[in-house]
Symmetry: C2
Subunit: 364 residues, 2 copies
């Protein structure tokens, strides 16, 4: 039986708490004959406190060697003033870049039972199921020059560079179209081609790939500002949205917030498929952040982290039955009314992080 190597990087804030619930699931699956091997390491503020870096070379080596990385969350006020190069986020950015995780899949699903937690009207979001495909290793996040310089008169000048090449856009476009074919067959490509040259290239390349390889999938081009508006006005018009790193950061957060289920949304960051082994590097993380305000209190919703493990079962290990089993257990537990505070209807009793994790193990 193949062993599956998982690197757990719980990180900061609520990261460690929600990761602990995934460890319970790993033990459960291993007791039933699956061979998960886990290692754990530090990232973000936790790594800074221990080693004065946002991720150690050792942890990077483990990440390179793992079949999948499970990532909790990074950041918090404690590290607001650490040097830029070693701020908590730098660890996550390095993982994305060095592992070549160019495709970030962020599903935004509104669970009917939770539609009332949304700030949007029930009819606007009920049944919402969209997938944001965000380019994750290019754009303004990594383009050079990226610098802050002091001028002769003492004032400063900061520069970031938004850069995209044909190849970078082609590969993320293919990921989006492939996904759309298994869904509702529609891709919306968001850019600012009316003011950005990268937007012009983005639009051209998406159109070209569409015409050459996916002409049977519906494609629409939408300006990023309008896309943000339309997400608020009528999100169900979308199926797959493909967009660049920075717009993806914002649009996926909007989409997540619409659902009323932020604490439940997982994400996958995938690398290219290795032509020899057929495998790909991957990192799975909840969409929510480190939530310093509730960290350490046992209140955090572990479902986004658990769902991220579910995505790993599906995308990294091809364990589709196991992934379905986990999804079903989660749905049943939710339906039974066992919920953490963020998703419990007002006036009902909420459970803590551990109880919710235990309930899922029990349901399995």
């Amino acid at each position: 039986m193949a062993t599956h190597k998982l690197l757990l990087l719980p990180g900061d804030g609520i990261g460690p708490e929600v990761m602990r619930e995934v460890e319970k699931l790993v033990r459960w699956f291993n007791a039933r004959g699956l061979g998960f091997e886990t290692e754990t390491d530090l990232v973000g503020g936790a790594a800074y406190d221990a080693h004065k870096v946002s991720i150690s070379e050792d942890a990077m080596k483990r990440a390179q060697a793992a079949d999948a990385v499970l990532f909790g969350a990074v950041g918090g006020a404690k590290w607001d003033n650490v040097p830029y190069a070693v701020r908590p986020e730098a660890g996550l950015l390095r993982l994305r870049k060095d592992l070549g995780l160019f495709a970030n899949l962020r599903p935004a699903i509104c669970y009917p039972a939770l539609a009332d937690s949304s700030s949007l009207k029930r009819e606007v979001v009920e049944g919402l199921d969209i997938m944001i495909v965000r380019e994750l290793t290019g754009g303004v996040y990594f383009g050079e020059p990226k610098e802050l310089v002091t001028l002769e008169d003492g004032s400063q000048r900061a520069v970031d560079t938004q850069l995209y090449t044909t190849g970078e856009i082609e590969r993320i476009t293919r990921v989006a179209f492939d996904l759309a074919k298994k869904r509702r067959n529609k891709v919306s490509s968001a850019e600012k081609s009316n003011v950005m040259k990268t937007g012009v290239l983005w639009r051209q390349v998406v159109s070209k790939i569409h015409k050459a390889e996916f002409a049977d999938v519906q494609l629409e081009h939408v300006l990023a500002d309008n896309c943000a508006m339309q997400l608020v006005r009528n999100p169900k018009q979308f199926d797959v949205i493909v967009t660049d790193n920075l717009f993806g950061d914002i649009l996926s957060d909007i989409a997540a917030m619409l659902t009323g289920s932020l604490g439940m949304l997982p994400s996958a960051s995938l690398g290219a498929v290795d032509p020899v082994t057929g495998s790909r590097k991957a990192l799975y993380e909840p969409v929510h952040g480190s939530a310093p305000d509730i960290a350490g209190k046992g209140l955090a919703n572990p479902l986004a982290m658990i769902g991220s493990f579910g995505m790993a079962l599906r995308y990294s290990f091809g364990l589709l039955d196991e992934a379905d089993l986990l999804d079903k257990a989660t749905a049943n537990v939710l339906a039974s009314g066992t919920r953490t505070k963020d998703i419990a209807p007002p006036g009902t009793n909420a459970v803590g992080t551990q109880e919710l994790g235990d309930a899922i193990v029990k349901e399995l």
Copy 2:
């Protein structure tokens, strides 16, 4: 009596229709002794069709000479394939840049009578009144290099440059704090200082100006992605949001869409105050775009354009009583149930662009 020189640039789509209603108001005010002199010129697709440019040198001269520019909207599918340098939006961008209109004020107000048109729950948006202050002449919109180059292997590479200097951030920060002092005394500054050097500088400069000049105003720093989320989750937590050109583009569109009153929201783009004359260049435009789908049908809501004229009365001409009068007339007409289709409750009769304009003149 001073004359007030207005340049009207109706532009494309519904621009000309909504501008016609402002012309009625100008005539009404002139009949009561105010000295508005108006000129009209082309911009956007309309200018391209006539002169193969997005705005003529002649129109630019008139804009420079005017006390205020009233701008309708630009763009439409017809000009989707014109050369990049003369696309409709280029006319607007040139006006902003050449007139030095660095401060874009975008109020997002949810009129109680219209709260039900929002896709958000009534309690989330009712009474919402926030002001987005967007930097308008810097950032990725104008930074150089901005280019699309073909590489040796035939693939392409596109670059946009996000660039900010201390001085650019200082002046927009002051605009935001000055506004907050007349409002609810709170400024939220949105950037991505966790990934962008321009965000790092933005945050530093805003903090510095706050400490030195506006320590009595509440300041919070918020990451742009989180700001987008918070706008959806609980927009009433904000008073003034100050942000860069690109984030401002997106965040102000989200804020506008929340209100359910997109067709009603005006905006002002202001230059620096001339130390000699005390005046400043200004352009006023509705937040909505050219809406090609309803253009020419007499259905467009003229209230955003009329409100933009109201902002001109207030900010460019110091005609506060007249501005109040206009606001009151608008509120009364709305309260009487006279509404265009976008804001009429389902099942009620909607009026057209002209009837709504006429109703306001009558109410005045």
